[in-house]
Amino acid sequence: MKGFEVIKEMKNLINDNDIIVSSNGNISREVYHLLPKPQVYLRGSMGLPVSVGLGLALANPDKKIIVITGDGNFLMGLGSFVTTAFYKPKNLKILILDNSSYFTTGGQQTVSSAIDFSNFLESFKIGFTASEIASKENIRKDLTEFLSAETFSVLHLITEVGKENLENIPWHPEEISKKIIARII
């Protein structure tokens, strides 16, 4: 499966009380166009979606915070993942869509294949972790288990490269902030 196909699958698995933080580039664009609005669409700050998600999760213990990040973005902020594993907020969910490439910038290779994600994630003792190849047969089950876990949970999915041609996000970041703050408070 391609990343945007996984994102589409989330549509029926999230509700109004959940907040998504999407990583810059294609993933933010896909989340904007394919899932309910508004969410925290990051346009820059490569490497920081996990930390933004951690801040939201700690400040909103009664909301589910779902970070959707690519592998390049996740690797750039790897230290911040260790911090989330230290705090283990049970309302925080991190979905890593791993196509082994910086797809937004033209498909250049990342170094993600150096990690055995299954063992890597398990070593953190954070509750629910899984590493799978994204497949149409299992995606609903994989996402449901990941999103309904009562602990901090991380799902790493190997995806194929590919995207839909979607328009740029029309909202200015200031507008994104205003809409999110209004949603939360």
Partner: protein, 166 residues
């Protein structure tokens, strides 16, 4: 040095969260926070890197809450993108306490000397309002910084020299 008890209770009245990466200039403040953790209202969030701190703080601000950030000025070199493409772009107010390393008292620490020299020009280039926090009138300076932060709904900085907070 500013009295830690007075300083922390001032922070408790303004912020719900504090997040940062340590500097020895903040040692006394951080020791005080650690020793009194159970009866201090501020929630302290640790982090591995300064850009991560700005990311966490951004998540807190997007929740309509107030956060104080602290770091060494070496970390200013790590947060350029976190400021320009996140905190400033998304208009997220946060107060950053940044230690002013590289001044006279650091003359035996060359690792700080260049950032010490470019610290203020870098903040100016980033268009971030800043003040130097001093022991005298510290609360007036902080109030002024917080007013500016609210007015522009963006990060502002207080530079902290040795001996002011630790």
């Amino acid at each position: 040095m500013i009295d830690q008890e007075v300083f922390i209770s001032y922070l408790e009245s303004k912020f719900q969260y504090i997040c940062g990466v340590p500097c020895s200039y903040f040692k006394e403040m951080l020791n005080y926070l650690a020793e009194h953790e159970s009866n201090i209202q501020l929630k302290h969030i640790l982090a591995t890197r300064e850009d991560e701190v700005v990311g966490i703080a951004s998540g807190v601000v997007l929740s309509g809450k107030q956060v104080l950030v602290y770091m060494q000025n070496s970390g200013l070199g790590n947060i350029g993108d976190a400021l320009t493409s996140l905190a400033q772009l998304y208009k997220l107010p946060m107060l950053l306490l940044i230690s002013y390393r590289g001044l006279e008292s650091d003359r035996n620490f060359p690792e700080h000397s260049i950032m010490g020299e470019v610290n203020e020009p870098v903040l100016k280039a980033f268009r971030i309002p800043y003040w130097i926090l001093t022991e005298d009138n510290w609360d007036t300076i902080m109030t002024r910084a917080l007013q500016k932060m609210e007015e522009i709904s963006s990060p502002v900085v207080l530079l902290v020299d040795k001996g002011v907070l630790g």
